[in-house]
Each structure stands twice: as C-alpha cells, then as structure tokens.
Symmetry: C2
Subunit: 318 residues, 2 copies
C-alpha cells in the first residue's frame, strides 16, 4: 500500500488478516500512526516497492492525483512488472500516466466510491468500503487474470465491483460527483451574497444543496480539476439547462421543463436502484469477457463474487 491516508489506511486495515499487507507513505505522521496501530509500515517507498517486486505482490497506489507521476517513477524503478492498481477518483488521466511512466506494470485501475470529510490514517476504518461500489477498470486488452486479482481485493474490503472503462467512469463521476461539488460551491457563494438575512432564512434546501461545499477545497479541486476532460461537457450540459431555465422564466415565466426533468431524473435513479435484479455469471476466460464486463457496468450491474479460482465472476443486473 503506497499512501496511508483515509483510503489507503482503510484498505490496509480491511485487507489485513486476509492477506499479508505492508505499507509506505511520505507522511511521517501517517506512518507513525499506522505502526503504533501494529501495521508493518514506514516512510521508505522504494523499500516497500522492492519487497513487492520480490514477492510479486499487488501494489495499491493510494496517493493523491497530484503525487501520482512522482510515485509512478518509483514504481517503474523498483517494481516495473508488478500488478498495480490505484484508488483515485479519475481513471483516464491515471491510465495515461501509468502508460507513460510505468508502461511495463500490469495496471488495472480502481475507484472505491467511499469517503468522508476527515482525512489521514486516523480517519480510516476497516469498514469504510462496506456496501460501497468499487469501480475496477476494463479496457480493451485488459488481462482478466489481473483484473480478477484487483476485483478480489475490492470484494475482500466489503465493496461490490462495478466494471467500467476509464472514459465511461470519468463521465459518470463527472455527472454524479464532480458536478454536484461545483453546483454546491456556486449555490453557497450566491447564497452568501444575500448576507445575514439570507443566512437567517436558510433552511433544508440550502443545507442539502451546499453540504459538500464544506469539504476541504484541496480535495475538491484535485478531483474536479483532475477530471477536466470529462467534466467540461457535463458543465456545458448544466449551463445549457440552467440558461434555458433562465430564458424560460424571463420570457414565458414558466419553469415546468426544468422542474419536471429534475423530478423525472430523480425517479429514474430511484427506480434503477430499486429494480428487481437477476443473477449474472461471466466466464473471465471467454474471448469476449472484457466486453461483457464493460456492458454489465453500463447497464448498472455489479460483480459480487469471484469463484473457480478467480476464473468466473458472478453478480447481478436489473
């Protein structure tokens, strides 16, 4: 485990006992706290990576996106052919960085959809991923033996696995995670212009709509700026819809199109989550298995178990 913050620290705890784990971080505070909790952790990245290379271990990069290139240089030097995954919130930029800086690693990207406001080793818990979605990347040419090893770690941690290509992942999180953060920031700033009277009258819709504007700005910047390419067209979609609402309110005075579309969207997602699910079974050794996994993810499906020595994935889809 390279990086022992909230995500890396939680995953190290969740995997300990099920497999041999060790970690390294440049943060002396996190390394010290992890050691004090009984984990085999230090601040020497290269030593941890050499040990991974010797044992052909799965390396998890749990560092911020801004530290990724530098960390990949260490990986390329110390463990150039290891199986490698990550836990960052964008997948396309990470895939490109790995192909550039550590091209011989067997890389399968990952993104656990879990988090909380606090950060650092001390904020982590072994249960952080219970019931969460964990995207495990499928690209044309992905080795599904490698894929299954990464998916197995996510399942061990208590998550279910959503297979998705980097582009599909990045577009989806732009819509359901990064745009919400930007709209919350805009709403919070516009509300604040209303001064103390607006503050006195702010109630539920303000509180809900601005909750994530309380997140640490550095974290929000890292994830939104890091997903620039996928976020721009999604921002344009939001601007177009908000501009259309403005135009309609100014001309006819009506907001039905905007408000009805929002209400329908909410119902669509609620139905998707509540829909009856049926079991699926994918033979990971079949020639079209990569396409089958990606299609499962696009349909909202999930993998919940790996059997047959990681050669078969089973799950559900509605």
């Amino acid at each position: 485990m390279i990086g022992l913050g909230l995500i890396g620290g939680s995953l190290l705890r969740a995997a300990a006992g099920k497999r041999t784990v060790w970690g390294a971080t440049l943060s002396e505070a996190d390394a010290g706290a992890a050691r004090a909790d009984g984990f085999d952790c230090g601040t020497d990245l290269d030593a941890a990576l050499r040990r991974a290379a010797e044992r052909d271990a799965l390396i998890v990069l749990a560092v911020p996106l801004t530290a990724l290139d530098e960390t990949l240089h260490h990986v390329a030097e110390q463990a150039p052919e290891c199986l490698l995954t990550d836990v960052t919130s964008v997948k396309g930029p990470v895939l490109r960085a790995v192909r550039r800086w550590a091209p011989d690693t067997r890389f399968v990207g990952g993104h656990p959809m879990a988090g909380k406001a606090e950060s650092g080793w001390s904020a982590g818990t072994a249960g952080l991923f219970d019931g969460a979605a964990w995207v495990v990347g499928v690209e044309p040419g992905t080795d599904l033996g490698d894929w299954a090893e990464v998916a197995a770690l996510a399942l061990e941690a208590g998550a279910h696995v959503v297979p998705a290509g980097a582009a599909a992942h990045d577009e989806a999180v732009a819509r359901v995670s990064h745009l919400p953060h930007l709209l919350a920031a805009v709403l919070s700033a516009v509300a604040a212009e209303g001064g103390p009277l607006a503050a006195a009258l702010a109630a539920g819709s303000y509180a809900d709509g601005t909750r994530v504007a309380g997140s640490r700005p550095a974290l929000v910047r890292a994830m939104t700026e890091g997903n620039r390419e996928a976020l721009l067209p999604v921002l344009d979609d939001a601007l177009g819809r908000l501009g259309a609402a403005r135009g309609s309110l100014a001309s006819t005075g009506g907001l039905a199109v905007t408000i009805n579309a929002g209400h329908e969207g909410k119902q669509t997602f609620a139905q998707a989550r509540e829909a009856q699910r049926t079991g699926v079974r994918i033979d990971l050794t079949a020639p079209d298995a990569v396409e089958a996994l990606a299609a499962l993810g696009e349909r909202g499906g999930r993998i919940t178990a790996l059997t047959d020595e990681l050669r078969t994935a089973t799950g559900e889809v509605s």
Copy 2:
C-alpha cells in the same frame, strides 16, 4: 383560516386553545378531515369571512399563490377592513395583489420557513413551526399595532419572527430556497443523462444535491415562478459563476476561485448562525420603529417576544 392544507392546518392546530379559531377551504377532503378532528371548519369561504368581519378577527390566507387573487375577491366583499396576513413563499407579488384586490384590508404579509414533502390537512401538526423563522413583513407605513398582532400569532405557533420588507425577503429566499430547487433539478437531469452506470455510482454528493428535486413539481413551480422578479438576477449570478468556472477549467484548468468561494460562503453562514447574540428591544410606538425592525432583519436578527400589550418587541441579534 382560509385554506386548511399543510401550513393552514398546522397553524389552526397550533393556535387552537390559545384563541378562538375557525377555518374554511374549498377542499371538501381537508374540511371534512378538520371537522373530524374537532375543528370548526367548512367549505363556505364567505361565511367564514363574514364571521371574521363581525368579530374583527385576524384573517390568515393559507391558500396557494395561484388561488390568491380569487380568495382576495371574497375577502374584499365579505371582510374588506379586516386585519389580513398570508403564509405564501413570496411577499412582493402578494403585497401587490392585496393592494389591487383588497386595498382596504390592514395587510401584514407573513412567511413561515417550515414545510415538509407531504401536503393537505392530514400532513399538518401543531409543532410544525417550532423553532422556525417566520418572516413578518414591514413596509414603509406598516401599522405596527397590526404588525404586532400578526407577529404574536407566529410566536404563539412556536416560531421566532424575522422582520423584513417584501423585496428583501423575496431576494433572500430566491438565494437560499428557490435557486437550490432549480440547481437540484438541473443536477438531477444532468445526472440522469449518465444512465444506469451513473445511477450505480451516485453516492452522497448526488443524494444531497438532488434531494429537493423529489418535491412535488407543482409546489416547486408555484414558489419559483411566483418569485420571478427576484429570482432572475439570482439565476444570472449563478449562471455567471458557473460560466466562469467553465471558462477557468477550459483555459487554465483551475477551479480554485469557484471552490474557495463556495467554501467561504459555507463558513460565513455557519458563523452567522453560531455567533454570540445580544438582546434587542424595539419600542413599536417610536417613529422610526418600522426602519428599526427592517434593519434588525437585515442584520440577521429576530424578535422572540412581544410585551407591554404588544407595544414592545424584544429579541436578539449578533
């Protein structure tokens, strides 16, 4: 009480026992349910209004904004000189409608900042207004004897009173209530475009940001469309900020200005709510009392009691 839905029904329950109350509504279902609960209610608006005129009662209009003009015609015919208040979510349009259709009533506008998703008599509770802000309108020339009688009803119901002019109220709620509903609708619609994969990956920021998009579209339309004049410049402010974020992301790749402004706005409101408060006392018979009340509201202050036979208002401000 004219109208026995969520707000009217709750206020009738809250005021019963403290004063003589009766109500009327065009909804036979609500009138029947109120009678079954032991309240003096019916479907004959004119009879209820004549009784108000005979006893010089305070009339509360708790009808939707779309039914206001029609209801005011009844008031002007049956109880043209009564003290009148309302509970609708915009104050400027109501003030103009009253001046046009029932100009001889002694009107003081009101807006309790309380609600829930359900509607109708059966959704109401006597405790709905406990701890809520209740705007009671102050305009140049407002008779503060009338104002105090309306404020006393809000205090009786468990709310605290925020004095504000119609324009200041409408701008504030555009920022902290109506814009949140429109941004939630836009977010919900943009997210839904992401299909089942986006639904599978939607977590906390999506759920918080779209919660009010689940509200009944007719209610959301009534309040946002009803506040058109104040909402348009607030929408422009939001569009400008979101467009600036888009431009910055496309050019420099940075979102610091947007995200930092949102974080600071959140802190500003939190500080306003947590600030140390000091007592205030306003002599409602003083010549500048209307201005003093409006200024108190603009500073985020509130009235919490009326003493001295409604001639003195006391409260707090930070």
